[in-house]
């Protein structure tokens, strides 16, 4: 059989878990460790940490978070953000990550994918593609969290990344990220038709039914989820979260919710998928 993976995605900025819209306007949601532990104990198939400002500041500061996570969480951990060299990959893996996710450095130097997959095995190298739909309907890849235009068409890039040895692709719809408007099915299908490596879809999940449809029609191998899970965790843990955070915590304190997103749990999602004949690990 083949099971579909549910992967909480934790965007990290400094010591905080953050979440934006269109990868921008980052709000502090809490401590990544609290969320990671909760997701591990509640059925997450993997975890995905993305240092959302690493590439921008050309730094790589997640290692202590990774090693603390690896001591208590025994599911796979993918780490992205600011990975530019073979030495960077080595250091993240040695801190306890299982896979690394690369965007900017791979676009700047596609051969990096080849070199990295030769050194660490294809299955360790995940390529992130941040896609923005253009006025003419085509999708272009961006770097630095949707900030930098590259002019590269996403389907071509996905195919090339696979040929160079990438073991997995995470496709993010920057347009849908954090909006709860639903997955961009046109984008997902564009990529899933062209690649034969696992495809993780990310950006826009609104509820269980939207996730099930995206998996079935988009032929995805995994789903990366952020807002939909994080807001549920916050609703249930709000008192313990407030007061501990630095940065922009206005959202956290306001108790506001997102009208378009129906917060839910991994368990609820998995039960829904199971009922809809999608194989998952229960």
């Amino acid at each position: 059989m083949k099971t579909i993976r549910i992967i909480p995605r934790l965007d990290i900025k400094g010591p905080n878990l953050v979440k934006g819209i269109h990868l921008e306007g980052l709000r502090v949601l809490g401590k990544p460790e609290d969320f990671a532990r909760y997701y591990y104990e509640n059925g997450a198939d993997e975890l995905f940490y993305q240092d959302v400002v690493a590439s921008l500041y050309e730094r790589n500061s997640l290692n202590s978070l990774i090693s603390n996570t690896a001591k208590e969480i025994f599911i796979p951990l993918t780490v992205g953000g600011g990975i530019r060299t073979i030495a960077d990959i080595n250091s993240v893996l040695r801190a306890g990550a299982d896979k690394v996710c690369i965007n900017t450095a791979a676009i700047k130097n596609p051969n990096f994918i080849k070199e990295a997959s030769r050194s660490f095995g294809s299955s360790t190298i995940v390529i992130a593609i941040e896609a923005i739909k253009q006025p003419d309907g085509c999708y272009l890849a961006y770097t630095d969290n949707g900030r930098e235009h590259t002019g590269i068409e996403v389907a071509d890039w996905a195919k090339k990344a696979e040929e160079l040895g990438a073991g997995e692709i995470v496709i993010t719809s920057v347009d849908r990220d954090g909006t709860g408007l639903g997955f961009d099915m046109q984008l997902i299908q564009l990529i899933s038709e062209i690649v034969s490596i696992p495809l993780i879809i990310h950006g826009g999940a609104s509820d269980e039914s939207n996730i099930a449809t995206a998996i079935k029609e988009g032929k995805a191998d995994g789903v990366a989820l952020a807002s939909i899970l994080h807001y549920n965790f916050i609703q249930n843990n709000i008192t313990s979260l407030i007061g501990k955070e630095e940065g922009n915590t206005d959202f956290l304190k306001s108790g506001k919710q997102f009208s378009r997103i129906t917060p839910t749990t991994i368990k609820t999602i998995k039960e829904f998928l199971n009922k809809n004949t999608i194989s998952i690990r229960l």
């Binding site: 294809s122 299955s123 995994g222």
Partner: protein, 216 residues
């Protein structure tokens, strides 16, 4: 209990060793991570982990002069546990990036997962959770899987799979999207898993715990 320093995770400078160590620590083992053959020669339990490319791994083992110490220890009957690439390295050869010779401790070869089965495309690498099973209950019960249920979920990430020459060496099978393959092996004092017990949540930690119990 053996002296904790005797449990050795072999570091051949590839991949994620620390999650193996953390899983050991979680169940109360305290292994050392080492590339030093002197430590390996003193070991009473060896763990050969691995993420990475087969050829590079063999090159590193040779460069670090660990091939003979490892083989000698296995001949002496010291338990050896392989994980992922650590399972594949035990075989005679692999077709990863050309043909590369392995340690040759288990008869058989390592093959690439095909891109299609009966004209149906399958995804490679195999990344994700899948079940392990064995119709022979006594083999299962006589292994570190003994406390687990048949069809327990484990986490896999690999593009190649081992094909043992002797069916007797197969401990479990897994079916990935139509490809049934050997997902763990057991032969004398060698036991190895294609999946990552240290990444397989509570099920995986149980395997480490069973290893601990077996050698207490």
């Amino acid at each position: 209990m053996k002296n904790n320093n005797d449990i050795v995770i072999i570091d051949y400078q590839l991949g994620n060793l620390f999650s193996v160590k953390h899983a050991c620590v979680k169940v109360g083992l305290n292994p050392i991570i080492t590339s030093d053959k002197k430590d390996i020669l003193k070991a009473s339990i060896l763990i050969l982990p691995g993420v990475g490319a087969f050829g590079d791994a063999m090159e590193n083992l040779k460069r670090l002069d660990l091939v003979s110490p490892l083989k000698d220890k296995v001949k002496m009957g010291i338990p050896l546990f392989g994980i992922c690439l650590g399972l594949q390295l035990l075989f005679e050869e692999s077709e990863e990036h050309g043909t590369n010779k392995g340690l040759g401790l288990i008869p058989g070869t390592v093959k690439k997962i095909p891109f299609s089965i009966e004209n149906r495309k399958i995804k490679v690498p195999n990344t994700g959770w899948n079940t392990i099973y064995n119709k022979n209950v006594s083999e299962w019960n006589n292994s570190p899987l003994n406390s687990l249920d048949q069809n327990s979920y484990m986490y896999f990430v690999h593009s190649y799979y081992a094909k043992p020459a002797n069916a007797n060496d197969i401990l479990t099978l897994t079916n990935y999207d139509g490809l049934e393959y050997c997902s763990s092996i057991k032969k004398d004092n060698i036991c190895a898993f294609q999946f990552h017990p240290e990444k397989s949540g509570k099920n995986g930690l149980e395997i480490y715990n069973n290893i601990k119990i077996a050698f207490q």
